[in-house]
């Protein structure tokens, strides 16, 4: 990379942005194929519902804390 820094920056942008787009495009393809394959050969209809309900873990975790602290609170107020 002998050329000036602006040149380097432009290059970095071209190659970088290019890679990101290509990579995620391939990921779209791979994911779609994977989903089709799994759906075709390993269907699992009933579980699906659960799967989507279970949703993100973070909230779940927060809820857990909430539940417990609620319990603690009850416990405190009870005595």
């Amino acid at each position: 990379m002998q050329q000036d820094i602006v040149g380097q920056g432009v290059e970095l942008m071209l190659y970088g942005m290019g890679t990101v787009v290509v990579f995620l495009a391939l990921l779209v393809v791979a994911t779609t194929l994977m989903s089709a394959f799994v759906g075709r050969y390993f269907p699992e209809a009933e579980k699906a519902a659960v799967a989507t309900v279970k949703a993100p873990a973070a909230p779940a975790d927060n809820e857990l804390v909430a539940v417990i602290s609620a319990a603690v609170h009850q416990h405190r107020t009870r005595k």
């Binding site: 970088g16 990921l27 994911t31």
Partner: protein
């Protein structure tokens, strides 16, 4: 009497510099934003507090034994350091440290031994930084925990949204151009590696930003991390105007089709698919995305819940505490107070803006040519800043159409943005990491 003098000289008041006082105010300011305004408190509380600790005059908590020894300023010792670094004894302490920085590993070891023998030791925060960040482990462990908290369901239900995650990363590279431009016109002085690290702020992803700057520009890490987390907290203020400016009322009203249910098995296989793609196309992104996929696999596979729970709680919390304090150690005055820091803060917010804009615009494009309707508002979620950006998309959508819940739809580009910025990080490390 000498003791009284000793005590006074060792006191902070006798030694405090203007810069340190100012940086302590900055630290207090970050604490205020975190506690009162709720700015990413999990990171900004430790960072702000670490920033105050790092600037306590005379404590040298953020300095290595060698730095503390040089600042100690014993002439005899300085002479030995000068000889060791092969510079003239006349050099000032600052120049000595520059020479130290550019010397090789063997010299580093010798200098450390010299400092230790003279009774100096590494500061607490310096040790935290070495173990948590210089080793690269803390950001990776946090990324694993984030993976274990991430649900790829919405992304799997609508993989096209990955393009929005890609588009929003344009903010990263536009910022790189901005940084090199400011350098070329002489306003700032960034190397191409610095520019890359600054750009990653636009990734709106804390651990990624910290990981990249620890590799490419350790000196800028403090400013970059502070900018990244602050702007992530500001997303609800930064994004909406841009989103409204670039979309019509009708577009914002667009309702999207209900997401299909995603099977457990797809969720288990996805992290492996992603891992394989990384392995074959971009090994430089393997540490970040590898740990991310590992965390997600632990969550989804359902047979190691006790590991997944620990990764999401005890482990990520412990790591966050030390990561935050370590980042704070980079807020030490003589490294942070620099015109470049202003440049970084300025470029960072530009990065967020451009990322948001490109996400929205590409969403409009896809909407034009795609079959199923896409609400352009979910494009802005592509910058990641999980889950804030997705909530913003949802909120702005509800303003236009009270019955239009975009949250789940926005989660797709949102997590796609995490992958996107990790990929960008990989490219940058493999292209300019060598420098």
């Amino acid at each position: 009497m000498d003791n009284l003098l000793l005590l006074w000289n060792s006191s902070g008041l006798a030694q405090i510099g203007l810069g340190q006082a100012f940086m302590m105010l900055i630290g207090a300011g970050l604490l205020f934003l975190a506690i009162r305004k709720g700015f990413e408190p999990l990171l900004l509380v430790p960072i702000g507090f670490g920033g105050i600790l790092a600037n306590i005059p005379g404590a040298g908590l953020a300095y290595s034994a060698v730095e503390n020894a040089v600042q100690g300023g014993d002439p005899q010792l300085l002479l030995e350091f000068a000889r060791l670094f092969g510079v003239t004894a006349a050099e000032s302490g600052k120049e000595l440290l520059v020479a130290y920085g550019s010397s090789n590993s063997a010299t580093h070891l010798a200098a450390e031994q010299l400092a230790m023998d003279a009774g100096y030791s590494n500061g607490m925060l310096y040790n935290f930084y070495s173990v948590a960040i210089a080793s690269g482990v803390a950001p990776l462990v946090i990324f694993m925990g984030v993976g274990a908290m991430t649900d790829f369901g919405p992304l799997l239900a609508n993989p096209k949204t990955l393009f929005l995650g890609a588009a929003a990363q344009f903010g990263i590279f536009a910022t790189v151009i901005g940084a090199v431009f400011l350098t070329s016109i002489g306003w700032m002085d960034f190397s191409i590696a610095d520019a890359a690290a600054i750009g990653i702020i636009g990734g709106a992803d804390g651990p990624t930003a910290i990981y990249v700057s620890s590799v490419l520009a350790p000196d800028l890490l403090g400013a970059i991390a502070v900018a990244a987390y602050s702007y992530m907290a500001l997303v609800p203020m930064i994004q909406p105007p841009i989103m409204r400016a670039l979309t019509t009322e009708e577009e914002r009203k667009i309702e999207m089709v209900q997401l299909r249910p995603v099977s457990k098995r797809e969720k288990i296989v996805f992290p492996l698919v992603l891992l394989i793609l990384v392995a074959f196309l971009l090994p430089a992104a393997a540490p970040l995305l590898g740990m991310f996929c590992f965390g997600n696999l632990m969550k989804e596979c359902g047979v190691v819940d006790r590991l997944s729970d620990t990764a999401q709680n005890a482990l990520i919390n412990i790591t966050t505490i030390f990561l935050g304090l370590s980042v704070g150690s980079k807020l030490v005055a003589d490294k942070f107070l620099d015109i470049n820091t202003l440049g970084i803060l300025g470029l960072g917010i530009v990065a967020f803006g451009i990322g948001t804009a490109s996400g929205v615009l590409i969403a409009k494009l896809m909407n034009r040519f795609g079959a199923t309707p896409i609400n352009p508002l979910i494009g802005s979620a592509g910058v990641s800043a999980v889950p804030m950006a997705a909530r913003v998309s949802n909120k702005v959508g509800l303003e236009a159409n009270p019955h239009n819940f975009l949250l789940m739809h926005a989660m797709g580009p949102n997590v796609a943005g995490v992958i996107g910025s990790a990929v960008a990080a990989g490219v940058m490390i493999s292209l300019v990491g060598g420098n």
